[in-house]
């Protein structure tokens, strides 16, 4: 109890202080805009430029970890104050915040609908509600899928290392599982994949409907695709071909550094994380190719404006500029975050982009091709709450605590508590 009380006391104090600061800083006549972000959106340089060309505007970035960002935003929306003027909504949770759209500005009021044609249709639709009448957010990047692999470990297992040859090994996920068997037979001490959970998520991200049908009804139990994705991943886990690692955790970084797994599914934004985790020692060893089963989408965000913002018009202008094709192209070149706008893919510079660290892989071509072919999964309002239940189930399989069938049964039972 004590901790809760202290927490709420601290929060109140902070709010009082923040309110005090807000008042005084506007005294110099500038409009102050805040941006609530997580990880790296690559906005640092762009924001400096924007402030230089808009002398009356002062922009402040607030970056926190994604988990903290989502929780904070929820409490700020609930409390009616404290949220930034522009907030980033990640693809996995955007549907959940869409259910509380009355807390956000309808960007259509500022003419957002005129921009619709910039984006891939599905990306635009993810950020809207009421059949497109309510525009919740403008799309930033997207997360079309690739597959990253360690070519030195592939060579050690007697597999091809050239990225075109590797792609031919796995047209489907069943083929991918066969490659896993070959790999494990030759090099039993190295795990084939970091975690079955990423494989599961990748397969799901390639289907049109996952846990929820397009009318937002819960269908995981009767959707064969969910079951078969689960079975494929669980089989890898049962055969101990997975590292049982939490994606992007500290342990995942250690495993990357130790070179203890050979493949991982990677959306465009994950390349930077792999590079950071594996370090310079693995430069040129990692490579990227197309994922089994074609394109899919994991991640990518939206910029939205909470109703509590005091300057929604100026915030909209900034969000519009930050998400415009020209700026998305620059962000791609700097951080590798893949634009969500088809026009950018055909750009010669984007097409010619290679990633030095990943053995000079032509990431521009690989991800643009994947992005053009992808059919995104419909995300239900409770998608972000259902997903972790199945992820935990797969972890139990990887830990050797349960069979795939038992884990599945338990997950279906537990998920009832979330979807009802």
């Amino acid at each position: 109890m004590n901790r809760r009380l202290v927490g709420s006391a601290a929060a109140t104090l902070v709010m009082v202080l923040v309110a005090g600061c807000g008042g005084s800083s506007e005294a110099d006549g500038k409009i102050e805009l805040s941006l609530g972000l997580f990880s790296d959106f690559g906005y640092d340089k762009l924001i400096e430029e924007y402030m230089a060309s808009h002398q009356n505007i002062k922009i402040e970035q607030r970056k926190v970890k994604m988990e903290q960002h989502n929780t904070q935003l929820a409490t700020q929306l609930a409390g009616g104050r404290g949220a930034a003027d522009i907030v980033a909504l990640e693809e996995g949770v955007v549907s959940q915040f869409r259910a509380s759209k009355d807390k956000f500005v309808n960007l259509a009021e500022y003419g957002a609908k005129d921009l619709k044609s910039q984006w891939a249709d599905w990306k635009w639709n993810q950020g809207t509600a009421d059949n497109g009448e309510f525009v919740l957010g403008l799309g930033t990047d997207m997360g079309s899928l690739g597959l990253c692999y360690r070519s030195d470990l592939f060579a050690a297992a007697g597999l091809p290392t050239d990225r075109a040859e590797v792609a031919k090994l796995w047209p489907t996920w069943a083929d991918y599982a066969k490659v896993a068997d070959q790999f494990t037979a030759k090099t039993p001490n190295v795990k084939f994949v970091d975690t079955g959970r990423n494989v599961y998520k990748a397969i799901l991200d390639q289907t049109e409907e996952g846990y929820f049908a397009k009318d937002d009804s819960y269908i995981a139990e009767r959707n064969d695709k969910v079951k078969s994705a689960f079975d494929t991943a669980a089989a890898l886990g049962t055969k101990q071909q997975t590292g049982a690692l939490e994606p992007f955790s500290q342990e995942w970084n250690v495993a990357l550094k130790q070179g203890s797994f050979a493949t991982t599914t990677c959306p465009a934004w994950a390349l930077a994380l792999i590079k950071a985790g594996a370090g310079d020692g693995a430069a040129g060893k990692w490579d990227v190719t197309t994922a089994p089963g074609g394109g899919g989408n994991w991640g990518g965000s939206f910029l939205a404006i909470p109703k509590q913002s005091k300057h929604p018009k100026e915030a909209y202008e900034l969000a519009k500029w930050l998400t415009a094709p020209e700026q998305q192209k620059r962000i791609f070149k700097e951080t590798g975050n893949l634009p969500s706008q088809p026009k950018v893919y055909q750009d010669a510079e984007v097409q010619a982009t290679v990633n030095e660290y990943f053995n000079k892989a032509p990431v521009g071509q690989i991800f643009a091709t994947s992005a053009e072919s992808l059919k995104p999964t419909y995300r239900g309002t409770k998608d972000s709450k259902v997903g972790p239940v199945f992820a935990s189930a797969l972890t139990r399989v990887e830990q050797g605590k349960q069979s795939g069938a038992d884990a599945w049964t338990q997950a279906l039972k537990e998920v009832q508590d979330v979807v009802k």
């Binding site: 929820a74 409490t75 259910a99 955790s249 972790p388 605590k401 508590d417």
Partner: protein, 301 residues
């Protein structure tokens, strides 16, 4: 004359008033507000969805995850608090014997407490890694198979308890040491003349003499231990991704972690408030039980 009598009568109340005002605002009000929220279907963002009476409570009593979290909380509490307080008592007795460089040792035992809990958890999480952890490496040296510390209930409880012990043993030892220093030395002298052993003197003189301090540490450890959050949260690598349920099968999910899951991940604020209130009652109960138990034990000596 009249004024000074008024002054003597009311000034003390005036002086302690700020505490009660602050307590009412930051203590009592949230407590009552939480009770009010627990009687509603309350969504974190969208707020009140209607009065449901005691429905959240009846749901809670039939919720196996709640009982699991309660069991984990009590297990972690016992596993960490009992050895911790005994170790602190021993440590304090050693420090009390006037070692060379005593200031260094006394400051040293407090050091673990000063380090941020997030840093502690991060380091310990590395220690207990399944594939690259130091603990499994050391176990391997003596021929013990690697333990998957996060997968097994008891292993995970041991790991989390070790973090708590590392942080708080020194802190409690210093409290005991302060109390031990005020025990009259002539009691030990006459006991020595009577031929009592050090062990006997420790249990018959030292422990009964510092009884109030032991009671204090038992109560504060009860409150702290039952609210365990940061250590188990950071022990679960999924916490950073907001996927944490305290282990793949809730092996080390405590009540506060469960409250966090319900409130801030699933946005069910009404249910989270219910868990909070049950936690409050559990803390009260356990504190009262501990208080009376320790009083009885300590007075026997």
């Amino acid at each position: 004359m009249g004024l000074s009598r008024w002054d003597a009568k009311y000034t003390p109340y005036l002086i302690i008033t700020p505490f009660f005002v602050v307590f009412a605002i930051f203590g009592l009000y949230p407590l009552l507000y939480t009770a009010w929220v627990s009687l509603h279907d309350w969504q974190l963002i969208d707020g009140d969805q209607g009065f449901v009476g005691l429905e959240n409570y009846s749901r809670l009593f039939g919720d196996p995850n709640f009982w699991n979290a309660l069991f984990n909380t009590l297990s972690l509490f016992v596993l960490s608090t009992v050895p911790q307080l005994l170790a602190a008592l021993g440590l304090a007795a050693l420090l009390d014997r006037g070692l060379r460089g005593s200031a260094f040792w006394r400051a040293g035992v407090l050091l673990p407490n000063v380090i941020s809990v997030a840093a502690v958890a991060l380091v310990f999480a590395q220690f207990y890694g399944r594939d690259f952890g130091i603990v499994n490496y050391l176990l391997g040296l003596v021929g013990i198979d690697p333990v998957d510390w996060r997968a097994e209930t008891w292993a995970s409880h041991l790991a989390v308890s070790s973090m708590v012990m590392w942080r708080w043993t020194g802190y409690n030892a210093l409290l005991y040491l302060a109390a031990m220093q005020s025990v009259p030395k002539d009691m030990y002298e006459s006991a020595t003349l009577d031929g009592a052993s050090r062990w006997r003197m420790f249990w018959s003189i030292t422990v009964p003499s510092i009884r109030p301090t032991i009671l204090f540490t038992v109560v504060t450890s009860t409150i702290g231990g039952l609210q365990l959050f940061a250590e188990p949260a950071l022990f679960d690598p999924g916490f950073a991704a907001n996927n944490s349920t305290g282990g793949s099968d809730r092996q080390f999910q405590t009540l506060v972690l469960y409250m966090y899951e319900k409130g801030f991940r699933l946005f069910d604020a009404g249910y989270a408030a219910t868990v909070a209130w049950m936690l409050f009652i559990v803390v009260l109960l356990v504190a009262v039980i501990n208080f009376s138990l320790t009083r009885r034990i300590a007075s026997k000596g």
